[in-house]
């Protein structure tokens, strides 16, 4: 019986071998030799980290508990590898061309470089993977404990051993995983070590299987008989559960951070996928081949109550085959360590890139340049992240107490990471997928996963009453029977609800939200990745590249310029008449030339596209977009400037027109005033001189001429009064003398003033009963308007017997007073001009200066009313309107 110390020594020795292999592989890869390091075989074997200690030990336990259902765990990845290899190829192409470092990076990159999304995915991954890591700790601890029990010389404390294992794995992962900074750089050493571990675990399982079938059962036929006799042989298939778990395994195979790491990040050549598409299912087949025999024979031979999860170890031990048990132990150890190393590497990259570094950068405020300082911080962040992840796993292991079956924990983990599937697949195939949609779907899915699976599975977090009656007694919210759907097993139920609502939310929210420009750009890059990148096949030969470069250069620089450039370069290279080789020198010159036309970033991206094979990075594209945006902005600024100029010019022109018009109006007004003043003055002066200079005037002539002088003097005075009045009214400096009275009083006063002493007689029709309207207004000004209108009627009414009708109406608190005579009224032209200053009815010389109606309008507008011409009344008709106000609370007296 092997001593415990020997076991520890073997483990340390095994680890030392792994280190040596990893170290050598890294060295060989660095020298560029060792093509076998990049072989499809290594790639396929590295995928085997899918098979963790859970599959190594747990599959047998699973078979003992649930019969053949364990097959689903292998079926899912097989279906993906065979049935969706083209999808994986797209994933790999996208991952390589976008230089992604993890699945969180890929999703964030696809959805517009959203760090929020990256953080969510990282957190989900950490929460989902922590139980899984606990599972590995548990398996190693259990296997140690099994050996310890078998070796009574040594006591074994479960808890402290878990701590030792976790610490050891952390050191192991740090030493392996964080030697290089560039997470995108392939870790040849780690991958090679993992491939070795894959071989060890396969060999170990096959060895135990062969030993069981031929050594213990006595051949295939015997084994089959024993299987038939055991309960495992009964095909007890629950289709819902089978499809749910197969789907889960398939989804997890794509979404698990560690699978993404080996499948996408670590891949050397896209064509390796072709090999892996058949080789990996074969590996899985071999891994599952002896599960059922081991389970059946173990149940047969081992005492009742032996943990079936450890049959692989306890069967050889029980038969005294310690060498085989040791191999089996190493197989399980390999499974656990490889998973923990890669998972913690992947998770630590996510944690440090998306959570630790952004926080550190915002704290220190330093620019994100990769200086030596930052490099050491990144490495530190990764190492701390690894320790944190393993510590979380250890605490989970402590809390859960290692009670639940290994398989159950693994499935819970699978269901968690499977939530990333909708945004991942949607991001690869649907350009309409948006960040908001991805976030919403992830949130819904992860929330349901927590509520329906993780928390109930932990035990103690959700009280039994809530499981049975729902929260707050809401039975439709029971964690394991949402919306009243009962009868499903909890796993199927959780997968169905979380995945369906996740996908639905993702699609609906994507449909109703719009992607921002970077998302659009990235969406196109992802969905059309095969058109945008040239694959990972390597260089296609120098001449072909030069041709491509020439074609591109001709498009951008123009044919003759491009050809001149290439010829000069060929001369310089001594290859006149041929295309120049794309030497770094030449490429640099070409890029500078192109940059002059399309901008530096675009030039760089174009050359990288042709020469670099695949990778136009997101940064390159964003830089192109930025430059285009700058150019657009500049040109739109120019447009805006020219629009502004023409606007200013138009404003200036308008202002000039306005000034010209005002000036012309002023000239016309001054001319009018001058004319109106000089005309009476002319008469006055002429007749004054006649009176002064003529001695033989008759008394009648003297009287007549003196009367003319008198009339003209009065006209002059009236004109000056009107002008001053109008000026005061127009400037708004008039003070209104508001007082109360009745309309009848104002009309009486106005009509008697206008008609008194007139040569013509005019009949006035009034209706006194209508005129008893109380007014509160400037009654003198109102009377002035009435006098003016009555005088005009008297002057201009051309009827033989002039008559004036005063009509009073009240409507809606508006008083209207119409002055209608029985003359011919105003012509259309006169109607429009009547209220203009100095307008006089053509040919009339009634002594006015043509300011009367202009003044009337000014007055009425001051009184908040108006005066207008009323056409169609059968004579000259003017309407005065005035708002009715009660005395005391009217308009401001000082308006």
């Amino acid at each position: 019986m092997a001593s415990f110390n020997l076991l520890v020594a073997v483990c340390l020795g095994y680890v030392a071998i792994l280190f040596a292999v990893a170290f050598l592989a890294d060295r060989i890869a660095a020298t560029g030799r060792g093509r076998w390091l990049r072989s499809p075989l290594i790639y396929t074997l590295s995928l085997s980290i899918y098979c963790t200690a859970w599959t190594f030990y747990g599959a047998v336990g699973y078979a003992v508990r649930s019969g053949l259902e364990f097959v689903t765990i292998y079926l899912g990845p097989t279906i993906v590898m065979i049935g969706w290899w083209w999808g994986l190829r797209k994933l790999v192409r996208v991952g390589r061309s976008q230089r992604v470092t993890s699945i969180a990076d890929l999703l964030s990159s696809r959805y517009g470089k959203s760090n929020t999304l990256a953080i969510c995915v990282t957190l989900l991954a950490v929460i989902g993977i922590t139980p899984y890591i606990a599972l590995q700790l548990q398996s190693i601890t259990l296997s140690f404990a099994t050996f310890a029990e078998a070796d009574p010389s040594r006591g074994w404390a479960d808890v402290s051993s878990g701590l030792w294992v976790a610490g050891g794995l952390a050191i192991f992962a740090i030493l392996f995983g964080t030697r290089n900074l560039d997470a995108n750089e392939r870790h040849h050493g780690v991958v090679t070590a993992i491939a070795l571990e894959a071989v060890v675990k396969l060999v170990a399982l096959l060895a135990v299987g062969i030993f069981v079938v031929w050594g213990l059962a006595g051949g295939i036929g015997e084994t089959m008989a024993r299987i038939d006799a055991s309960p495992i042989g009964e095909w007890n298939v629950d289709p819902g559960r089978w499809s749910a778990i197969t789907f889960l395994a398939a989804a997890a195979f794509v979404c698990l951070p560690r699978m993404f790491q080996v499948m996408v990040v670590e891949i050397d050549n896209e064509r390796h996928l072709h090999t892996a598409a058949w080789a990996f299912p074969l590996y899985l087949f071999l891994m599952s081949l002896f599960v059922v025999p081991i389970a059946a024979i173990g149940l047969d031979l081992l005492p009742e109550g032996t943990n079936p999860d450890l049959f692989v170890l306890t069967l050889p031990l029980s038969q005294g085959r310690e060498d085989l048990a040791m191999l089996s132990f190493l197989g399980g150890f390999s499974s656990a360590t490889s998973m923990v190393i890669v998972a913690s590497m992947a998770l630590s990259t996510m944690l440090s890139n998306h959570i630790v570094m952004p926080i550190w950068l915002s704290w220190t405020g330093s620019a994100a340049s990769v200086s030596g300082d930052v490099r050491s911080v990144v490495l530190l962040a990764r190492r701390v992240s690894i320790v944190v992840i393993l510590a979380l796993g250890y605490f989970y292991y402590m809390l859960s107490g290692g009670g639940a079956g290994l398989a159950a924990i693994g499935l819970i983990s699978f269901a968690g990471v499977a939530q990333m599937l909708p945004p991942l697949v949607g991001g690869l195939y649907w350009r309409g997928a948006t960040r908001t949609g991805a976030l919403a779907g992830l949130g819904v899915g992860a929330g349901l996963w927590l509520y329906t699976l993780l928390l109930p599975g932990l035990g103690g977090f959700i009280p039994d009453t809530m499981l049975q009656q729902g929260p707050f007694g809401l039975s439709w919210l029971r964690p394991q029977a949402l919306f009243g759907i009962t009868g499903l097993d909890p796993m199927t139920h959780a997968v169905m609800w979380s995945m369906a609502l996740n996908a639905l939310t993702f699609v609906i929210v994507s449909l109703i939200t719009l992607p921002d420009p970077i998302e659009r750009l990235q969406g196109a890059q992802f969905v059309n990745v095969f058109e945008h990148s040239t694959g990972l096949r390597g260089w296609t030969g120098y001449v072909a590249q030069s041709e491509d470069l020439l074609i591109m250069a001709q498009r951008i620089l123009g044919t003759s310029d491009a050809q001149t450039l290439f010829q000069r370069e060929a001369d310089r290279q001594g290859a006149r008449g041929h295309l120049p080789e794309p030497t770094p020198d030449f490429l640099e010159r070409l890029e500078r030339n192109l940059a002059g036309s399309v901008g530096a970033a675009a030039a760089h991206a174009m050359i990288a596209q042709i020469v670099g094979g695949a990778s136009v990075s997101v940064e390159d594209l964003l830089a192109v977009a930025d430059e285009s945006a700058q150019i657009l902005e500049y040109s739109s600024q120019l447009e805006a400037k020219s629009a502004e100029l023409s606007r200013t010019a138009r404003q200036l022109r308008d202002a000039n027109d306005m000034l010209t018009r005002l000036s012309a109006q002023k000239d016309a007004f001054l001319g009018q005033v001058s004319h109106e003043l000089r005309t009476p003055m002319t008469s006055i002066r002429a007749f004054s001189e006649i009176l002064r200079d003529t001695e033989d005037l008759s008394p009648a002539e003297t009287t007549r001429y003196a009367a003319i002088i008198h009339d003209e003097a009065r006209r002059l005075t009236r004109l000056l009064d009107d002008l001053l009045d109008l000026n005061v009214l127009e400037s708004g400096q008039v003070s209104l003398n508001m007082r109360a009275g009745t309309l009848a009083q104002v009309l009486d006063h106005a009509l008697s003033s206008a008609l008194a002493g007139a040569e013509r007689k005019m009949v006035v029709h009034r209706r006194p009963e209508m005129e008893n309207v109380p007014l509160y207004s400037d009654l003198d000004r109102l009377a002035q308007v009435f006098i003016n209108l009555a005088s005009n009627a008297l002057k201009y009414c051309d009827a033989d017997r002039p008559e004036l009708t005063i009509r009073v109406q009240i409507q809606d608190d508006m008083l209207s007073v119409d002055f209608i005579d029985n003359g011919r009224g105003l012509t259309d032209e006169a109607q429009t001009l009547a209220f203009e200053k100095f307008y006089r009815v053509s040919g009339e010389k009634a002594g006015g200066a043509g300011l009367g109606l202009a003044i009337c309008r000014e007055i009425m507008q001051r009184l908040d009313g108006d005066v207008t011409y009323l056409p169609g009344q059968g004579g000259g008709a003017f309407r005065v309107t005035l708002p009715l106000r009660e005395g005391g609370r009217g308009i401001d007296a000082a308006a």
């Binding site: 001319g671 002066r685 001189e689 006649i690």
Partner: protein, 127 residues
């Protein structure tokens, strides 16, 4: 001395009366027309030796009447005394371009008008 016939085109009755009084006392025959429209026809009908023309007239302005007259060959050299109450430099310029013989601003003194009329007729009668 030929021609003592003056046509006055003016819309202000008091001014017509004043000018008529002044010129009649000096032995001139004065016809008058109080409207812009029909002024050219009036000139053709009365065939005056001198025309006194107001600028602001109802119907047509004095400027237009003057331009119309100067366009007719028989009135190319008709002495025209223009009277305006607007008195702006622009009016004087326009009048001179239209071919006015003398331009006076209202109010005028009677002796000025008489002197201008004598002057213009003397110039016109010279061969």
């Amino acid at each position: 001395m030929t021609g003592r016939h003056v046509l006055l085109i003016e819309d202000e009755p008091n001014i017509i009366e004043a000018i008529r009084f002044i010129l009649t006392r000096e032995g001139w025959k004065v016809d008058s027309h109080a409207h812009g429209t029909g002024a050219v026809e009036m000139v053709q009908k009365t065939d005056p030796d001198l025309l006194i023309l107001d600028v602001m007239l109802p119907g047509r302005s004095g400027m237009e009447i003057l331009r119309d007259l100067r366009a007719l060959p028989e009135y190319e050299n008709l002495p025209v005394l223009m009277l305006t109450a607007r008195g702006q430099m622009r009016d004087r310029d326009m009048a001179e371009r239209a071919g006015v013989s003398r331009f006076m601003t209202k109010p005028f003194s009677n002796t000025e008008v008489l002197a201008a009329v004598r002057d213009l007729l003397a110039q016109a009668s010279r061969p």
